[in-house]
């Protein structure tokens, strides 16, 4: 953990160092991923099953017929889930769906004074593949956050893939798939699953877009299939930035910093405050809270290597620092949180006030928890309904409006050396 102070002479250098700290371990798996994708493209189900047996340690009885998780298996998994967890998932699903319903975009069409009609129409993608990690990173909440916007968009075919290392599958993940209207579930993972979604096999029909988080293999595979299909962002390690003044409760702030840090040793938690007292109190509270945290080894490493407490003169000084960090999650626990939030340009999601811990947003708040990391909130948004729709523009000229606009199009076509463009207009005007 570093302590920075904006009044110190080397502050801008130290802050720049914080900003450029490399938190991702770039595993070089690209060549292996290329081979796996080529294998699935040429070998189909057979190759997919071979890779899955090998990487997920499954026996020789795992066959193409084993790929799909049946309706009966899903029903059995739902029945096996604790009632309390199922109820919590249902509440989360309802709230996430309600929030995203407000994101459905409107079509538009207007006819101007010349008689030209122009506008656009939004349509859902024809199919989507959702990657869900296996093992300990298999989060039912992420199933909801990825599948529900697709359902709200009206995607008629939502396919989920999830690896089952050693045959183990989290029943809550299947319950979340069931609750969020996933149409097909396959027990495959890794680059081979991404390849199957992008190119299709005998059993798994190709989709138009692949979304969802994954390890280095999955990320490399998504980069490679981009173009053949659409992909969502490549997620990096999670991060939180908290703005807090001396009114804030240091134990609450410490809990929020550690909720982020427990994700991953590469996660990052930062506090920016105008209060030296709060800075000291939070530093001490983090140490206390760490001692009883089950994932304290992970959280301690993250806080040690990437944590930061930055003291500023006032919050106006903090605004440009926040915009440079462009945090995935921004908590504002100051007296005037709402007004301060309006000054910020770059953040994935903002949590206002001391009763809005980021973890509420991870599960049941309603907004999506799939958010831009690693400063990409400067140029991108969290996942939403628009990621599962696309816009087709519409243009219609009448003979009269073509007569009005045609000469300018002919002039521009010729000025660009594209006489064929000019002629396609001129021929309709007998020019």
């Amino acid at each position: 953990m570093v302590r920075l102070d904006s009044t110190e002479p080397d502050f801008s250098t130290a802050f720049a160092r914080l900003l450029t700290a490399k938190r991702e371990i770039a595993q070089d798996v690209d060549e292996a991923v290329r081979a796996i994708i080529a294998g699935v493209v040429s070998g189909g189900d057979r190759a997919l099953v071979d890779y899955t047996r090998r990487f997920d340690r499954l026996g020789p009885d795992f066959s193409p017929a084993s790929l799909r998780v049946s309706e009966a298996e899903i029903a059995a998994a739902v029945a096996a889930c604790p009632a309390e967890a199922l109820d919590a998932l249902r509440l989360a699903a309802e709230r996430i769906e309600a929030f995203h319903r407000a994101q459905v975009p409107a079509d538009h069409r207007a006819t101007d004074a010349l008689g030209v009609t122009a506008g656009w129409r939004w349509t859902a993608l024809e199919s989507v593949g959702l990657y869900v990690p296996g093992g300990t990173a298999s989060y039912p909440s992420s199933v909801l956050m990825n599948a529900l916007p697709a359902r709200v968009a009206g995607v008629p075919r939502i396919v989920m893939v999830v690896p089952t290392p050693d045959g183990v599958l989290n029943p809550l993940v299947l319950a979340a798939a069931h609750l969020s209207g996933v149409h097909e579930v396959y027990r495959v993972g890794g680059a081979q699953a991404v390849a199957a979604l992008a190119y299709g096999t005998e059993t798994i029909g190709a989709v138009a877009k692949v979304v969802g988080p994954g390890n280095a293999w999955v990320a490399a595979a998504k980069r490679r299939v981009f173009g053949q299909v659409g992909i969502d962002m490549i997620a990096g390690p999670s991060e939180v930035l908290i703005l807090a003044d001396h009114h804030a409760n240091p134990d609450w702030i410490a809990a929020d910093l550690l909720a982020q840090a427990e994700h991953d040793v590469a996660a990052q938690s930062i506090l920016i405050t105008d209060s030296a007292e709060l800075a000291d109190a939070v530093e001490a509270a983090v140490e206390r809270a760490l001692t009883t945290l089950p994932r304290q080894e992970i959280a301690r490493a993250s806080w040690r290597d990437y944590g930061a407490i930055v003291r500023v003169r006032d919050f106006d000084e903090a605004v440009p620092l926040v915009d440079r960090i462009a945090p995935e999650h921004l908590e504002i626990e100051t007296q005037d949180a709402e007004a301060l939030s309006r000054k910020i340009r770059n953040a994935g999601a903002i949590f206002l006030g001391s009763h809005t811990p980021e973890a509420i947003g991870d599960y049941v708040g309603g907004p999506n928890h799939v958010l831009p990391t690693a400063r990409s909130a400067r140029f991108s948004s969290g996942l939403g309904v628009l990621d599962f729709m696309k816009r087709t523009t519409i243009l219609a000229c009448t003979p009269e409006s073509l007569r009005a606009l045609g000469p300018a199009a002919i002039t521009l076509g010729r000025s660009e050396g594209l006489e064929g463009h000019a002629r396609s207009v001129a021929i309709r005007l007998n020019l």
Copy 2:
């Protein structure tokens, strides 16, 4: 050119072949591009000037001070443009800006029955870099189509880069930059220009996103800097698909097919019709029109290698074919164009009726001409205002609403093995 007929037994194989024809020449420039980017990152202006001297054949007097195109040079370029072309550009700019103004998204915020406030806020990107190709592919219309949505979005800093091979710069390109509110223009191109935009040099400040078309070097550079900055789609060769019945004028259809074919030998023009007579007439009309077209060599090669005329029994049969092709441009010249258009899911832009040649949309229609190619209209949209904005979600709980939602968040956090998440909620509820 191939003629296909849906009544023939090998139709589905032949159509699949049409769909998968590789039209892109994959130039392997990736390693050279990697080196150029590394050079600009470490060498800044000095490296940028060196690459530019070499690739654009500029003399030793080209220095960091020469990089920026001055206001006086832009004013002189505007003064040197033919009045007719300037007027046409102005008309185009007005119409494009008006169309895109309707795309500015609304913010949203609502408080639910529990007292949870949730919503989102859209903000413009802080800065954008627009790549404009040099030489013959230097299109002023593309400057308008890329810069105006950024201006409408409210981007406070729009930077344009354009190479000047042998020192030559198209005055209409500078005029288009002036008309569309570009703030800074630099005479650099290629991978070195993309690197400068993404990482910044002493003279060129880094931007948050790089957009605009370019050759294989530019495309490879955009792929490489993605993550450091945002990028728009990687554009492939252009394409048009025309649906027409026997009422259509074969000479007009031929003109539209050739307007597309003249772009590039890798462009693709396809006609789908239910009329054998129209199919024959268009085939003959294309041959006639080719003989007088200035760019007939390019158009002839494109039509020969990638052109197609597909006859179908009726247009209901055409709908799934269109959706599989997912054309960049779709012209519908049938009696019931509007109704037919509603059945199509996948298309970048639709041009309705026989008086709406695609070339009108290239210049003065209003909708954007930067559109998804190579079947990517299955999962993506043309350029628009949303590409220059990003959404920040907002969440605010009251103490009461946190009490209502908290237990479900705690349950889900624990079920995912994230006790720190659960505690950050529980500590606020004294649980």
